[in-house]
C-alpha cells in the first residue's frame, strides 16, 4: 500500500463541486461577469462613477446588478451545496478493505489504489477493480453505467481465483498490475498482472467498473486499479451539452439589435446635443459655464455615454433573471403535476433541466424509442395453441373479458401476479392431457433462464430476454415449475412432483438459427429434444406426419394479433444416436477451425423431423394510452418517428398496434409509411446510386416499404450503417421520410438514432424531441433539442441524460400539449411585455431629450429608474407569466390544434418584436406628449407652480405605470387571486413608496438622497393631474383593445375560438373509448436478445471458455417479470373527468 501511495494515484474521493467557502465569491463573480449582460452592467456602473458622464447615480445600476448577482449567486451556491452533499454521501459509503491481514470497514474516499476490497451481493462496486470470487464468476448489472440491466458475467483469473476467500492468502498476495492509463471507454481494458514472474492478461472481462452492481454473487475480492476521478464512471460523466432554446437564441439576437438601436439613439441625441450646444448652449453659458477643459465637441462626446446610461433600460437588466424565474416556476409545475405522476412505481414527472420549458411548446418532430417507451417491455404469455386447439384470452364483441382470471391457488409455487383467463387450458393440464403437459414441460426446460430462490417457494427468474421469462413463468403457473439448474441438470416440479432432468446439450439461440433446443434425459431415461423457434424455421423441420397439425397451428398463428409467437416442437431421440452425436458435438466444439459452421451443421442434423406441439403467443404489452397519445400528437401536427433497434416485423407490429400505421395507408399516396431497416437501406441505396434518375423504381414501391425487403443481407456492421447517413443520400432520405405520415426506422444503432435526429434538426430547422428509456437512447436524447427519459424503470442512463423524465409515454401529450404550450405562451408573453415595457420606459426619455437641451437629464427621478424593473413592475409580470393559461388543460388536450402556433413560432418572432417596439414607441409618445401639452403653462388651483421637474417626473412616472399595468391587465387571460394581488400590490406599493420617498422624514434623514420632497403631495391633489393620467392611459390602452377586438372579429385565431367555446360550452364528455383493433394478420417471432446463455449454463468448470457475447447494441431493459399484473387502464378523458370533479 505504501508503495502504491508513493505514486500519488488519485484516491477514491470524488469531487464534483465547483467552489468551496473561500473561492465561492471570486470564482462565482468571475463566472457571472462572463455573461454579456452582467459585464454590460458592470461597464455601465463604471461609466456612472465618472462624474463628467454620470447622468444617474451609480445606485440605479448598482442596485439592479447586486440583485441580479445575488439571486444567481444564491442559486449557484445552493447547487454547489447539493453537489457537496452528494460527494460527501458517496465518499462516505463503507466498504470492506483488506488491511494488515484483516478486513476493515473503510469509507470509500479512503480506498487507495492497490487495496484489496471485498464486495457483497447487491453492492455497488466501488472502484474499477480486478477480482476473484466463488466459482471465479461474478454477475454484475451495469444499469448505472450504461443502462443495461441484463446480467453480465465477469470472470477472474484462475491464478487469483484459486485464492478463494482465504484472507491470509489474499493478504500475502503479491503481484504487479500494469495497465492502460485512465480513459472513458467502458468496453475496453488492457493490462497485465504479474504474479511470481508469470504474466496474465487482464481484459474487460476481468475488471469490475465503478457503478456496477453485483448480483447473485455472495462475495468477491478485488484489487483496486483506478480510484475516484480515474475510474471509468467518472471519466464518462463528462459535461453534458448545454442546450438552449430557440427563443434564447432569438432573444440574444434581439438584444444585439437593441444594442444597435441604443447606439443609434445615442448618436442621434449626441448630434442633437452638438447642434444645441452650438446654437443655444454657447449663449446659455452665462447661466451655466462649461466645465473647465471641456469644449463643445468633447461635451457632446461625453453626452453620448451619458445617454448610454440614461437609456440603459432598453437592455432589460432583469430580463435574464426573470426568464430564469419563469422557467423555474414552470418546471415546478411540471414536477407537481399529479396527472403526470405514475402511482404504480411512485414516480412523478421531473423537469431535470429548467431552461427548456418553452421549447416544449414548439416541438415538430418526436423521435421515440420502442422498447420500454411505447411498450412496457413486459411480456405476457396470453395465448397458445396446443395440438391444434387454441387457448387464450377470450373477448366478446364489446372487447370485454368474459371470464374471470384463472385461479392458480392449487399451485403453491405459482407466481401470484400472473394472469390468464382461459379456464379450459388449466382443466386440460390438470386432467393430465399428455400433449398439454408436454407443451409446458418444454417451456419449463427449453430456456436459459436463471432461477433465484431466496426463500422456500419464493422463486424469481433472471431472464436474459423478457420473452423467455414470460414463457417460463407461464409454465410455472400451469404446474411445471422450473426450480433450479446446475450445468448438468434441470430441476422441475411437475404438477407438484419434483423431477430432475439431465441436461445433455443446449443448442443455443442465435439470429441466424432463430430457434433454440435442449436435449434432456428424463429420470425414466427417455431422451428428448425440445425446440422452440420462429414458425418459418420450425415448420421446415417438422416431421411430415405433422402437416395437418401444422396447418391448424398456422391458422392460429395468423390470428395472433401481432403478438410475438414461437412454435414449439419436440423429438424423441435414440440412445445410440445420441451417443454418436454427442461425440461429434464434442469434437466440433473443440475444433480450432470452422467451429461455428460445424456446430451449425450438427444442430441442423439433429433438429429435424420434429413433432409439432403447438405455438405460444407472447404479448409485448403497449403502455397505457399509447395509441391515444400518438393520435393526439398527430392531431397537433407533430410528426412521430419511431427509431428502434428491433426487427422490421416487430417494429411494424408495434406501428399497427399503436395506431401509427393503418391499413388504409397502403392505398393513399403520401400517407405511406417508410420502414427502413438500416442495413438493408444501405443496400437499397447502393442499388440506386443516382436517386434522382432512379426515383420511380425506388420511390414507387416505397408506398409500402420496399426498402425493407430483404435484399442481400449485409453484415450490419456499424460502419456500413453510419455510411448510409453520411452520404449525400441522406437529404433524399429525409425528403422522402418527411413526406410520409409515419416513419419507423428499425435496426438502428444508438449512433444512428442520434444521426437521424441530427439530420432532421439540421435540415428541417424544426424543434425535435427524443424520448427513450434505455442507454441506447442516450445519444439521441442528447442530440435532440429536448430529451425525455422514461423513468421509474430500471436503468437510469436515459433519465440521467434527459431534460425531462416521467414514467409513462402517455404523459408526453400532457407535457407537450399542456405544459409545453403554456410555457411557450407564457414565455412569449413575458418577453413581449418585457420589451414593450422597457421600450415605453426608455423612449419617454428620448422624447424628453428634445426639451432639455440633450443634456442627458433623466425625465424620471433616480429612485424610480432604480425600482422600475426590480420593484414596480416585477411582480405583476411574474404573476402573469407563472399562472397565465389561455385555455385550461382539458381544453388544451381537447383541441390539440392549439399547439400549432407554437410550432410555427407565431407568438414571439422578429415581427412580433417589431410590433412591440412600435407599440412601445406609440405609448411613449402618448406618455410624454399628453402630459407635456396639458402641463404647459399649467398652474395649481391655488396658483402655485406645478411644472417643476420633480412633479412633472412624478406625473410621467404615474402615467407610465398606469399604462404598463393596464396593458398587463389586458394581456392577462387568467386572473387568479395572485394576479389580482400582485397588480394591486404593485400599484399601491408604487404610491406608498413614492409618498414615503417624497416625505419629510426621508428628507430629514437622508437630505441629499431624497431631494424631491413634496412632489407627490403637491401633485396628487390636483384634478388636472388625474385627468391627465386618465387621458394618457386610456389613449394608450383603448387602441389596443379596439384593434384586438377587430382582429378577433376579422381573423379569429384558434385560441380565440376555443376560448369563446370554453366560455359558452361545457367540456364535451369523454371521447368514446375506442376499441383497439389491432391488425390481425401479422405475426412475428422475436427473441429480443441476440444470443443465449447456453454456453454459460452448460459450461462445467470455471467457464474458462469465454462466451462469444458481443457488446449488445440494443439494450434489453428486461424488467422484472413479476410485474405481469394487468395495468389499470385509464383513458385521458377519465382523468379529465376526475379533475373536473376536483374543481367542482
Amino acid at each position: 500500500r505504501t508503495f502504491n501511495l508513493s505514486f500519488r494515484y488519485a484516491n477514491n474521493a470524488i469531487k464534483t463541486s465547483k467552489y468551496n467557502i473561500f473561492t465561492f465569491l471570486p470564482l462565482n463573480l468571475f463566472e457571472q461577469f462572463k455573461r454579456l449582460a452582467n459585464a454590460y452592467f458592470l461597464f455601465l456602473l463604471i461609466l456612472e462613477l465618472i462624474p463628467q458622464i454620470s447622468s444617474l447615480s451609480w445606485i440605479t445600476t448598482g442596485f439592479a446588478l447586486i440583485v441580479v448577482l445575488s439571486i444567481t449567486g444564491v442559486k449557484d451556491a445552493i447547487d454547489d451545496i447539493n453537489r457537496h452533499k452528494c460527494d460527501r454521501q458517496v465518499n462516505n459509503r463503507k466498504v470492506d478493505v483488506l488491511m494488515d491481514g484483516q478486513l476493515k470497514n473503510e469509507k470509500w474516499m479512503n480506498v487507495q489504489v492497490g487495496d484489496i476490497v471485498k464486495l457483497g451481493n447487491n453492492e455497488f462496486v466501488t472502484v474499477t477493480s480486478e477480482r476473484n470470487s466463488p466459482l471465479n464468476l461474478v454477475y454484475v448489472d451495469t444499469a448505472e453505467l450504461d443502462g443495461e440491466t441484463n446480467l453480465k458475467v465477469k470472470q477472474a483469473l484462475t491464478v487469483t481465483g484459486e485464492l478463494g476467500d482465504n484472507i491470509e492468502a489474499l493478504a500475502a498476495f503479491n503481484g504487479e498490475v500494469r495497465c492502460e492509463p485512465p480513459n472513458n471507454r467502458l468496453d475496453k481494458f488492457k493490462g497485465t498482472l504479474t504474479v511470481n514472474g508469470e504474466r496474465y492478461a487482464l481484459d474487460n472481462d476481468k475488471v469490475l467498473l465503478r457503478g456496477c452492481t453485483l448480483r447473485n454473487t455472495e462475495w468477491c475480492f478485488g484489487l483496486v486499479i483506478f480510484g475516484g476521478p480515474d475510474s471509468k464512471l467518472i471519466q464518462n460523466s463528462g459535461k453534458s451539452m448545454f442546450k438552449r432554446t430557440s427563443i434564447d437564441h432569438l432573444t440574444n439576437i434581439l438584444v444585439l439589435c437593441i444594442f444597435g438601436f441604443l447606439a443609434s439613439m445615442c448618436s442621434i441625441l449626441t448630434i442633437g446635443n452638438a447642434i444645441w450646444e452650438r446654437n443655444e448652449g454657447s449663449v446659455f453659458t452665462m447661466f451655466l459655464p462649461r466645465e473647465p477643459g471641456i469644449d463643445a465637441p468633447l461635451a457632446s462626446f461625453l453626452i453620448f455615454w451619458s445617454y448610454v446610461i440614461v437609456l440603459n433600460a432598453l437592455i432589460p437588466s432583469s430580463l435574464y433573471v426573470s426568464v430564469e424565474f419563469i422557467r423555474l416556476g414552470n418546471s415546478f409545475f411540471i414536477d407537481w403535476d399529479r396527472k403526470m405522476y405514475y402511482p404504480k412505481n411512485d414516480t412523478p414527472a421531473q423537469a431535470r433541466t429548467t431552461t427548456l420549458n418553452e421549447e416544449l411548446g414548439q416541438i415538430k418532430y418526436i423521435f421515440s424509442d420502442k422498447t420500454g417507451t411505447l411498450t412496457q417491455n413486459i411480456m405476457t404469455f396470453n395465448k397458445c395453441s396446443i395440438n391444434g386447439k387454441a387457448y387464450g384470452d377470450l373477448y366478446d364483441f364489446s372487447g370485454q373479458r368474459r371470464t374471470e382470471r384463472v385461479d392458480f391457488s392449487w399451485n403453491n409455487l405459482a407466481d401470484p401476479k400472473y394472469n390468464f383467463h382461459d379456464h379450459s387450458l388449466v382443466e386440460m393440464v390438470r386432467s393430465g392431457n399428455p400433449e398439454t403437459q408436454e407443451f409446458f414441460r418444454l417451456l419449463s426446460l427449453c430456456h436459459t433462464v436463471m432461477p433465484e430462490e431466496k426463500k422456500e417457494g419464493e422463486l424469481s427468474y433472471q431472464a436474459q430476454s423478457p420473452d423467455e421469462g414470460a414463457l417460463v413463468t407461464a409454465a410455472r403457473n400451469f404446474g411445471f415449475v422450473f426450480r433450479s439448474r446446475t450445468p448438468e441438470t434441470i430441476t422441475v416440479v411437475e404438477m407438484g412432483r419434483q423431477v430432475i432432468y439431465e441436461l445433455l446439450a443446449i443448442l443455443d439461440f442465435n439470429n441466424m438459427r432463430k430457434r433454440m433446443s435442449v436435449i434432456v434425459r428424463s429420470p425414466e431415461g427417455k431422451l428428448t429434444l425440445y425446440c422452440k423457434g420462429a414458425d418459418t424455421v420450425i415448420f421446415e423441420r417438422l416431421h411430415p406426419s405433422c402437416n395437418k397439425l401444422m396447418e391448424v397451428t398456422t391458422d392460429h398463428l395468423n390470428v395472433s394479433d401481432g403478438l410475438r409467437t414461437l412454435v414449439l416442437a419436440y423429438k424423441d431421440l435414440n440412445e445410440n444416436y445420441m451417443i454418436d452425436w454427442k461425440q461429434r458435438h464434442h469434437e466440433a466444439s473443440v475444433a480450432m477451425e470452422g467451429r461455428e459452421e460445424k456446430l451449425d451443421e450438427l444442430y441442423e442434423e439433429i433438429e429435424k423431423d420434429m413433432m409439432l406441439l403447438g405455438a405460444t403467443a407472447v404479448e409485448d404489452k403497449l403502455q397505457d394510452g399509447v395509441p391515444q397519445t400518438i393520435e393526439q400528437l398527430a392531431k397537433a401536427d407533430i410528426k412521430i418517428w419511431v427509431l428502434t433497434g428491433d426487427k422490421q416485423e416487430t417494429a411494424e407490429n408495434i406501428g399497427y398496434s399503436c395506431n401509427m400505421l393503418r391499413e388504409e395507408m397502403k392505398d393513399v399516396f403520401n400517407q405511406m409509411m417508410i420502414v427502413f431497416c438500416q442495413s438493408e437501406a444501405v443496400t437499397a441505396y447502393e442499388f440506386f446510386p443516382h436517386p434522382q434518375g432512379a426515383r420511380p423504381p425506388l420511390w414507387e414501391p416505397l408506398h409500402y416499404g420496399v426498402l425493407t425487403d430483404d435484399l442481400t443481407p449485409i453484415p450490419s456492421s456499424l460502419h456500413h450503417q453510419a455510411f448510409a447517413l453520411e452520404k449525400n443520400l441522406r437529404l433524399e432520405l429525409l425528403r422522402t421520410a418527411c413526406m410520409c405520415q409515419t416513419v419507423i426506422c428499425c435496426r438502428v444503432t444508438p449512433l444512428q438514432k442520434a444521426q437521424v435526429v441530427q439530420l432532421v434538426k439540421k435540415y428541417k430547422q424544426a424543434v425535435t424531441l427524443a424520448i427513450g428509456d434505455g442507454a441506447n437512447d442516450v445519444s439521441m436524447i442528447k442530440a435532440a433539442h429536448i430529451g425525455v427519459g422514461i423513468s421509474g424503470q430500471e436503468g437510469m442512463q436515459a433519465v440521467l441524460s434527459s431534460d425531462y423524465s416521467f414514467a409513462q409515454f402517455r404523459y408526453l401529450q400532457r407535457l407537450l400539449l399542456v405544459h409545453g404550450r403554456w410555457s411557450y405562451i407564457r414565455m412569449c408573453k413575458f418577453l413581449g411585455y418585457f420589451f414593450y415595457k422597457n421600450f415605453t420606459f426608455t423612449l419617454v426619455q428620448f422624447w424628453y431629450a428634445f426639451f432639455c437641451g440633450f443634456s442627458a437629464q433623466t425625465v424620471y427621478d433616480e429612485w424610480f429608474i432604480t425600482f422600475y424593473n426590480m420593484v414596480y413592475t416585477a411582480l405583476p409580470v411574474l404573476g402573469m407569466c407563472l399562472f397565465d393559461q389561455d385555455v385550461n388543460d382539458r381544453w388544451s388536450l381537447q383541441h390539440p390544434e392549439l399547439y400549432a402556433p407554437g410550432q410555427k413560432n407565431q407568438y414571439f418572432n422578429k415581427k412580433a418584436f417589431v410590433s412591440y417596439l412600435i407599440h412601445g414607441c406609440y405609448c411613449s409618445l402618448i406618455i410624454f406628449f399628453i402630459p407635456w401639452a396639458s402641463m404647459n403653462d399649467a398652474v395649481r388651483n391655488d396658483g402655485k407652480d406645478i411644472v417643476s421637474h420633480p412633479s412633472f417626473a412624478f406625473l410621467l412616472q404615474t402615467c407610465l405605470l398606469a399604462v404598463v399595468h393596464t396593458q398587463l391587465c389586458v394581456d392577462t387571460y387568467y386572473w387568479t387571486a395572485v394576479n389580482h394581488f400582485f397588480v394591486l400590490l404593485s400599484t399601491i406599493g408604487y404610491f406608498a413608496i413614492s409618498v414615503t420617498m417624497y416625505s419629510n422624514g426621508m428628507f430629514y434623514v437622508f437630505t441629499s438622497s431624497f431631494p424631491l420632497i413634496g412632489a407627490a403631495r403637491n401633485t396628487l391633489n390636483q384634478p388636472i393631474v388625474w385627468l391627465t393620467i386618465f387621458l394618457t392611459f386610456l389613449l394608450c390602452i383603448l387602441p389596443v383593445v379596439a384593434i384586438r377586438f377587430i382582429f378577433i372579429q376579422l381573423r379569429p385565431t384558434i385560441n380565440d375560438k376555443v376560448r369563446y367555446k370554453m366560455r359558452t360550452e361545457e367540456l364535451p364528455g369523454p371521447a368514446p373509448r375506442h376499441l383497439l383493433r389491432r391488425r390481425s394478420t401479422r405475426s412475428g417471432y422475436a427473441f429480443s436478445h441476440s444470443q443465449g446463455y447456453g454456453d454459460l449454463v452448460t459450461s462445467r468448470k470455471f467457464l474458462m471458455k469465454r462466451s462469444t457475447k458481443r457488446a449488445p447494441l440494443f439494450t434489453q431493459t428486461d424488467s422484472s417479470i413479476f410485474q405481469n399484473q394487468p395495468q389499470h387502464y385509464r383513458t385521458i378523458a377519465e382523468e379529465a373527468e376526475e379533475s373536473q370533479s376536483h374543481k367542482l
Binding site: V90, M286, D337, G853, I930, V939, N941, K944, T976, R1017
Partner: protein
C-alpha cells in the same frame, strides 16, 4: 445519484400484495391509509396551486363588453371635455411680453443696455373686471432650467441650513462653489446664481390718480419648500452664519439681505428664491411672482382701468434668444387656463364613439364567434 432499483421493486411488490389480500380479509382502513401514504411518498400535492387549477376570472374581449364600453367611455370623455372647456374658457389670462425685442416695445432700451436696475414700464387696460383671485406670474422662454448640469448645480444640504456645507459647498455646485479667491459661495451653484432678478410694481390709474396695487408675496412657494426643504441656519443674526462666505457672483446683495424687513422671508426661505429654486421641467415656464392682495378696491380682482407695470429690468435673456413676460391669471378648480385638456377629451371621446360604431359594423358583418 445511485439507486438500487431492483431491490426497490421487489420490496414494493409484496406490500402491494398484502394490501390486495387485506382488502379481501378486511384489514382496517387506517392501516391501508398508512400504507398508501408510505407508498406514494413522491406523489405531488393535490392543491389548486400545484395543479394549476387556481380559480380564476377569465375575461375575454366580447362584443357585449367592448362596444358598450367604448360608447360609455366616449360619452364620459365628451362630458368631461365639455366641462373642462367651459371651465377653461371662464379663466382670464393676460400675457404681456416685455423682452424688448422690437424697437417699439417699451423695454427695448433696457434690453440693449447693460445698466443695472434699468427701468421701463408696460401699460395695459382692462375693460372689465379681472375676476379675482388674480395671480401675477413672470415667464421665461427658451430657458433650460432642466438642463442636467444646471439642475444638479446646487447643494441641498447647504440650503437645508447645514453650516458645515457653508464652508465647503458640494462639488456639484462647480463652477459656482468658490469664487476667484477660494471663498465659498453661499448659496452655491448655477440655479441660485442665476436667480431671476427683475422686479415689478403694478399701479392703476383711475381718473388721473395713480394707485399702487397691493401685491402679496407670501405663500407663493410650496409649503414643503418653505417649511421643510429650505431652512436658514439657526444663527442669529442670520448674517453671522454667512461669515467667511461670499454671495453668488451675479447677485446684487447676499442671501441674508433678500428681505431685510421680514425675517421669515429672508435668507434661504425667501419666497422668490424658493420659487426660482423649484426648477421648471420644460424650457418655457412661468413662475408665480405675486398675488394681487384681495383688499379694498381689489376685493374681487382687478377692476377695469388702466394699469402700469414698472419693471426693474436686470435679467438678460436676449443673448440666448429667450423671452420674458408677465402674466396675470385667475384659476379655477382645475388650475390655470388649459384649453388642451378639454379639447383632447372631446376629441378622444368622439373618437371612442366613432370606434364603437366601426366595431359594431365589423361585429355585425363578421359576427365572430357565431359563424363557424
Amino acid at each position: 445519484m445511485f439507486r438500487v432499483s431492483v431491490l426497490q421493486t421487489t420490496d414494493v411488490i409484496p406490500s402491494k400484495e398484502k394490501s390486495r389480500c387485506g382488502r379481501v380479509g378486511g384489514v382496517s382502513r387506517s392501516e391501508k391509509m398508512v400504507k398508501q401514504e408510505s407508498e406514494s411518498a413522491n406523489r405531488p400535492d393535490n392543491t389548486a396551486f400545484t395543479q394549476q387549477r387556481l380559480p380564476a376570472w377569465q375575461p375575454i374581449l366580447s362584443a357585449g363588453i367592448v362596444i358598450p364600453g367604448f360608447v360609455l367611455i366616449g360619452l364620459a370623455f365628451i362630458g368631461i371635455g365639455v366641462a373642462l372647456l367651459v371651465t377653461s374658457r371662464s379663466i382670464q389670462v393676460l400675457e404681456l411680453d416685455y423682452t424688448g425685442d422690437g424697437n417699439g416695445s417699451p423695454c427695448s432700451s433696457c434690453s440693449q443696455s447693460t445698466t443695472v436696475n434699468c427701468k421701463c414700464s408696460l401699460n395695459f387696460t382692462l375693460d372689465t373686471l379681472f375676476q379675482g383671485p388674480v395671480f401675477f406670474y413672470y415667464g421665461l422662454s427658451n430657458y433650460f432650467q432642466n438642463y442636467r448640469r444646471y439642475g444638479a448645480s446646487k447643494d441641498d444640504n447647504q440650503l437645508y441650513g447645514d453650516l458645515s456645507y457653508f464652508t465647503s459647498p458640494s462639488s456639484s455646485c462647480s463652477p459656482y462653489d468658490y469664487d476667484g479667491s477660494k471663498n465659498p459661495i453661499v448659496p452655491c451653484g448655477s440655479i441660485a446664481n442665476s436667480m431671476f432678478n427683475d422686479t415689478f410694481t403694478l399701479t392703476r390709474t383711475v381718473s388721473g390718480k395713480t394707485d399702487s396695487v397691493p401685491l402679496d408675496g407670501k405663500g407663493i412657494a410650496w409649503w414643503t419648500d418653505y417649511n421643510v426643504k429650505y431652512r436658514n441656519p439657526s444663527v442669529t443674526p442670520l448674517k453671522n452664519a454667512f461669515n467667511g462666505t461670499v454671495k453668488p457672483i451675479d447677485w446684487a446683495k447676499p442671501a441674508y439681505e433678500l428681505d431685510t424687513s421680514d425675517a421669515s422671508n429672508n435668507g434661504f426661505v425667501n419666497q422668490d428664491f424658493l420659487v426660482w429654486m423649484r426648477r421648471a421641467a420644460l424650457p418655457n415656464f412661468r413662475k408665480l411672482y405675486r398675488r394681487i392682495d384681495a383688499s379694498g378696491d381689489y376685493q374681487n380682482g382687478l377692476p377695469a382701468g388702466n394699469y402700469t407695470i414698472d419693471i426693474t429690468y436686470n435679467y438678460p435673456v436676449r443673448v440666448f434668444n429667450g423671452a420674458k413676460k408677465v402674466v396675470f391669471s385667475n384659476v379655477s378648480w382645475m388650475g390655470g387656463k388649459n384649453e388642451f385638456l378639454g379639447i383632447a377629451y372631446l376629441v378622444i371621446g368622439s373618437l371612442c364613439v366613432v370606434m364603437s360604431v366601426v366595431m359594431l359594423i365589423v361585429y355585425a358583418k363578421f359576427k365572430f364567434p357565431d359563424e363557424e
